[in-house]
Symmetry: C2
Subunit: 169 residues, 2 copies
């Protein structure tokens, strides 16, 4: 429960490198997410070459934090495994959230940057990572050791909770 | 980490009631999910009237477990808060995953049933819960005390992990 309440987006990182094993552990945890019909259509590209990290902001305008960051994970949808058509954005949302929580649990900071359904960002990753036609880039998570501990926040909004029927906000 | 690896879909429940406070705690944790531009477009309907739970499988064919189950949570997208168009299925996927993890951490069992983008299921919830036009039903999570402890599973697939570029499966 504590991990759920204390995870925040972390956008500034120490220059200290991140052991790839920690990222692989988080990718493993992401694969334990539920998926529609248990289709598990995900693919993960761990990106740690500096020249690739630096290229990302050129096609993904809100991913400026990638420049100089040690590592990132591109989560993709593989259409070959698509047995519950239309549900992959939900499945991969759950997988990305597991990735973020597992990184946070290990003391790492991370921020989820949106890729799908923005055509320019998708095309950028397809080209950069030589993705085949059936593999759709979905989210890119930038990872590093947090420069500072992000402050706790309270996102609870009582007015968004309803009982049995909608009764206004 | 343990919670991420041990959460499984639970489809059979004890008849024992579920204190609403536990469900509210999980709904609160769901609101701590990240969202595109931090739009937090979610709304939550906690459903615990038996006649409503029993009605759900009539319009949502894969939600048969709702019949006789003590409680469920319908997560919706409120278009009034939509500042990152096209990203709500991802945001609400992360929120649903937080909900499931928080339920699991409290010893409850749950299963995520898909609603959006299936028109018949969406229309069923809109009618049953009297949702206004701007509120889109997205996922329905059925909740109860697990009848049995689900077995651990290993979903790790090494061949889905790639480094920097796609190099086949």
């Amino acid at each position: 429960m504590k991990a759920l309440y204390t995870r925040r987006s972390v956008r500034k990182y120490q220059s200290k490198p991140v052991p790839v094993e920690l990222v692989e552990e988080a990718v493993k945890a992401a694969m334990f997410a539920p998926s529609a019909r248990n289709q598990q259509s995900w693919e993960f590209i761990i990106i740690d070459k500096p020249e690739l990290m630096d290229e990302i902001p050129t096609f993904s305008p809100h991913a400026g934090m990638a420049k100089g960051a040690p590592v990132g994970v591109l989560i993709c949808h593989n259409e070959d495994y698509d047995t519950a058509v239309g549900f992959f954005p939900q499945d991969l949302g759950a997988a990305t959230q597991n990735l973020l929580l597992a990184l946070h649990a290990q003391g790492l900071g991370a921020v989820w940057t949106g890729v799908y359904p923005r055509e320019e960002r998708m095309a950028g990753f397809v080209k950069m990572c030589s993705l085949p036609e059936n593999v759709i880039p979905y989210s890119f998570t930038i990872i590093g050791w947090p420069e500072t501990e992000p402050a706790a926040t309270d996102r609870f909004k009582k007015e968004r909770v309803h009982y049995n029927k909608w009764e206004g906000k």
